[in-house]
Symmetry: C2
Subunit: 597 residues, 2 copies
């Protein structure tokens, strides 16, 4: 058990609720057994306890910063990164062919969540290196793979993704970084990139940027974007004309650098094309989908860590007295632990319901990814691919949006101390605020969900999801007091169908702006349904496992109680959203009158 | 107009919606006219623009801190404080008898809100000085008044309130600071106080602490608490044995010091009793009620300032393209301002609806206070007193709870830049997080609302409020498209009655713990009703004023549109809460089983 996150809950979700062991029956994951994977997770927990968590607050107090043309990170980052690589954090999910370990992504997600909970400034360095490496392995030439793969896998080199430019923001069709073909087949890169996480540091020998740029003469918009590798240092060790222009100072996640880079200021920045020309956006989306799930994971992990910290406080701090049946408080009585006050219990249960529900959704997504990997059946692959595509924007958004609320509840539990720097809650509160912005804001994720994922393949993905949920409902209806929850969830599923029918009248008439206007609220409504499903699964499994001795009765009861809390409080709290989404007023659409001043 | 808050909105709320001018017809406020009060507000705006706002970010970057036994604040604080006093900020609301200006509290609240919006670390210094002074004036002996009043009114001395102790937290019945009677009628004070806002600084000649302590032999609990003045320096200028033990470093509001004080470590800290013995809590509540409204004001002002900052960004930043009727984006089109994206508009309107609605509720409360002051009729006084008592916990809680969401929406509008220190949104986001903790947490306010304010005088207060709201509903029903909103609000008022009936079954059986279990959700539900009422009032007034030339048509349209938004989005979003409050599951009550682990 870690002190900063409940690892039993993670293992329960992974091995019991998802039954990830089933994956090991496939050929692809067949070399592993549950014991070995458990040892991997234990080694990550141990590493996080010793090398990550003790530096969490310190890295906040000594932020990554720009000095003399360089980014200075906390010295511990180098050690973290190289030890994480040694433990297999970068290589874990890669295939044996590429020197990887073929560990399921769901298992790797638990491992990384443990690291996130211990010190959320760290896993990004490794995650971006892995993501960049995956792009090179999938799309790059043998030469590129030869050049970079092993160095990145071992943590000798780091990787980044360079998308955002000052004038374009999230609108990638507007990027202007240029790539000019050279006679030797390489390209000269010129342009600026901002918000580059892990964009520069001194803890690896080289940094390999996976960068989007336009080859001279390429078509406008997203169709003309290509993907390049651009190393910080050329093969001969000299500078590749990638200049660090500055560091974005932030209100949280201060240990993680966020850099402004200038490519080719002296016209000799060399990049190499990855795969085909003008396929950059499609290629990058492969990395981005993984990154979106990783963002959800980070947010869920921070929220779980905040729960743990506030639970500790609530079980130690005495204050006030229980309200007695007479309604009076007796000052001669001893003070009571604050965990006994109903409002504090509500704050605790809400945190637990959100954070563990969010993590379960993230793991569900990672598990679908594993099912794709493990399967040899094209139909099955397609099914899980659609499910994964549908869940991805929700797995990114629910943890990050609701995680903010959960951490805020945790801070509230501490009263005035929650606002004080000596307690860790305020750092979680500051750190988690970035997650709704990373890798496409909530608004963008919501448009992706409603505008693309709900309708692709004639709406096949939500149909498949409804089938999966229905299976859970059938099981739940057989458990004594679970039937009302199954019914509640069933009604919500029906609501989603109603909403889609209602909105269909706009999309069918080509009124896409109207169709998408309240996409963010649809996201909130639907993702709450999906997390309720996760809780029902957890409740069922906890009921089934009672008396098995694997987990304590308290642990299992706590899961069932929190499931009920999620349905009684969190599901009900969103009841009004359906009415807003189906409200014909459309007050957020731009009208002729100026109404926002 | 200020750059950091829409002062037209404040004036519209004060002079048009509340019609504060009516107050000037009373004898008490009769010396003032609207023009003079407008000039007072303009002078505050000018002062805030020149002396407060420019130091807002700087004071965050150079926090108040503890050094060599002293608290060091930003040097500008001394200037701010003395100039604010010169402008009448401390003396404004005090009676002529005491050398004050007899300005209505509602006008003063607008003035202070402007300062809050400019630099929320500042008004607390003045507000606590005023609050302390009011206690001395109301309960203190002539001698005490003689000694302190003028010095405090002119800003030569500052004041604080010293309640919280490490072992007691919000539970004031557990404070242990002692007061031992001396032969000369003074008391020797001994004890520790924490979280003392403005607790120590060098920008006034003296600091007068209004402190709660127990006289030796006093009864246990809140019945044995008395109120004392304890100056930092004795009349002869020597130290009064009040030692500054440290400063609480915080995640926000860093310019405002929050101090740990030790009284009487060397056994010669002298205090003087204020008023009668053992009346301390009751006396302090007079200050606390004002302070609670002030907390709501500060939060509402920060949220309005955040709206202003994000609006500026949304009107300057181009990104992406409008979704066209074909659903495609055309990259050859120019980029569009982000204010044109429906989701950004939703974020803007939600901020506006919450922040202005919150401020309106705060001003409504201050206005009731003024009606009490202005009235000579005991019945009328009692009516407004009950209304004020009912609104106070809501005026504290709604702005602070929903203000967090509003500021978060503002931050979201800026995308990744919202998280960056160079933009001001992240500072508002950090600063506003303290407001749900100040002066009694949301949980405590909610228990005050449901446990005391709803039921006092046989439930008279909510009845009076329902009458006030009904008057607004009658007017609204006469306006073309306002009837549905009046109906919606009417139904919500009825819901409150239903809820109280439902909960009555618990309180009547003495099950107070059950009765109060979901008090925080009741707070959210009821305060949303009250803010909807404020919006309806604003919508009505805006409709009436169309074409009057006092405000632009855009300004008035914007108020009506935001009113509609509040009803279509914010009111509807809380629909599910009623169902939670009336849910018999009671999952937050402590059971025999351990369910929170």
């Amino acid at each position: 058990m870690a002190t900063f996150i409940n690892t039993d809950t993670l293992k329960f979700q992974l091995f019991d609720v998802l039954n990830a062991e089933q994956l090991l029956e496939s050929e692809y994951f067949g070399d592993h057994d549950k014991e070995g994977l458990g040892m991997f997770l234990d080694s990550i927990t141990d590493f996080s306890e010793k090398e990550l968590f003790p530096y969490f607050q310190e890295m906040d107090e000594n932020p990554a910063h720009f000095k003399n043309g360089k980014i200075i990170t906390h010295p511990q980052v180098a050690k973290m990164f190289s030890e994480a690589a040694d433990l297999g954090v970068i290589a874990a999910t890669l295939s044996n062919d590429h020197g990887g370990l073929q560990i399921p992504l769901s298992v790797h997600t638990v491992a990384t969540a443990i690291m996130d909970a211990a010190n959320n400034s760290m896993p990004g360095y490794a995650g971006l290196t892995l993501g960049s490496l995956e792009l090179i392995l999938e799309f790059g030439s043998d030469d590129l793979i030869q050049k970079y793969a092993e160095h990145m896998m071992t943590g000798q080199y780091a990787g980044t993704m360079c998308l955002t430019e000052p004038q374009a923001g999230s609108s990638l069709s507007d990027i202007t970084t240029s790539a000019t073909p050279q006679e030797d087949g390489t390209y000269l890169i010129k342009g600026q990139k901002i918000f580059i996480s892990g964009g520069d540091h001194e803890h690896t020998e080289n940094v390999i940027h996976l960068l989007l740029a336009r080859i001279d003469g390429a078509p406008a918009g997203t169709k003309g974007i290509s993907l390049f590798t651009v190393p910080k240092f050329s093969p001969d060790g000299s500078s590749n004309d990638v200049i660090t222009a500055g560091e974005f100072l932030k209100m949280g996640q201060k240990g993680y650098c966020t850099t402004h880079l200038i490519f080719g200021e002296k016209d000799h920045c060399v990049g190499e094309l990855v795969g085909e020309t003008n396929q950059g956006l499609k290629q990058m989306f492969k990395m981005m989908n993984g990154a979106r799930i990783a963002v959800g994971r980070g947010a869920a992990a921070i929220a779980m860590a905040a729960y743990e910290a506030s639970l500790k406080y609530a079980n130690e701090r005495s204050q006030g007295r229980k309200v007695t049946d007479t309604g009076k408080k007796d000052p001669s009585q001893e003070q009571t632990l604050i965990i006994n006050h109903p409002d504090v219990r509500r704050l605790m249960l809400r945190q637990k319901a959100i954070s563990e529900g969010a993590m379960s959704l993230v793991l569900q997504s990672a598990y679908y990814h594993d099912r794709i990997t493990a399967s040899n059946d094209p139909e099955e692959k397609k099914k899980y691919h659609l499910l994964l595509e549908l869940l991805t924007p929700m797995a990114k958004t629910y943890p990050s949006e609701k995680g903010i609320d959960a951490v805020s509840d945790g801070l509230q539990v501490l009263g005035g101390y929650g606002f004080c720097s000596e307690y860790i809650l305020q750092q979680y509160y500051r750190d988690i605020r970035i997650f709704t912005l990373y890798e496409g804001t909530t608004g963008i994720q919501s448009i992706d969900l409603l505008g693309r994922k709900m309708t692709m393949n004639e709406g096949k993905a939500p149909q498949l999801l409804a089938q999966e949920i229905s299976k859970t409902l059938s099981v739940a209806r057989k458990i004594d007091d679970f039937a009302p929850y199954a019914d509640q969830l069933g009604r919500r599923l029906k609501d989603i169908v109603d909403i889609m029918e209602y909105l269909g009248q706009f999309s069918s008439k080509g009124k896409f702006n109207t169709y998408l206007a309240d996409a963010s609220l649809f996201m909130e409504y639907f993702s709450t349904v999906v997390v309720a499903w996760q809780w029902l699964k957890m409740g069922i499994k906890a009921t089934e496992m009672k008396g098995s001795g694997v987990y304590s009765d308290e642990f299992l009861e706590s899961k069932i109680h929190t499931m009920k809390f999620f349905f009684h409080y969190e599901v009900k709290a969103t009841a009004g959203l359906k009415d807003i989404i189906m409200d014909p007023a459309m007050l957020t659409l731009k009208t002729e009158k100026e109404v926002i001043i």
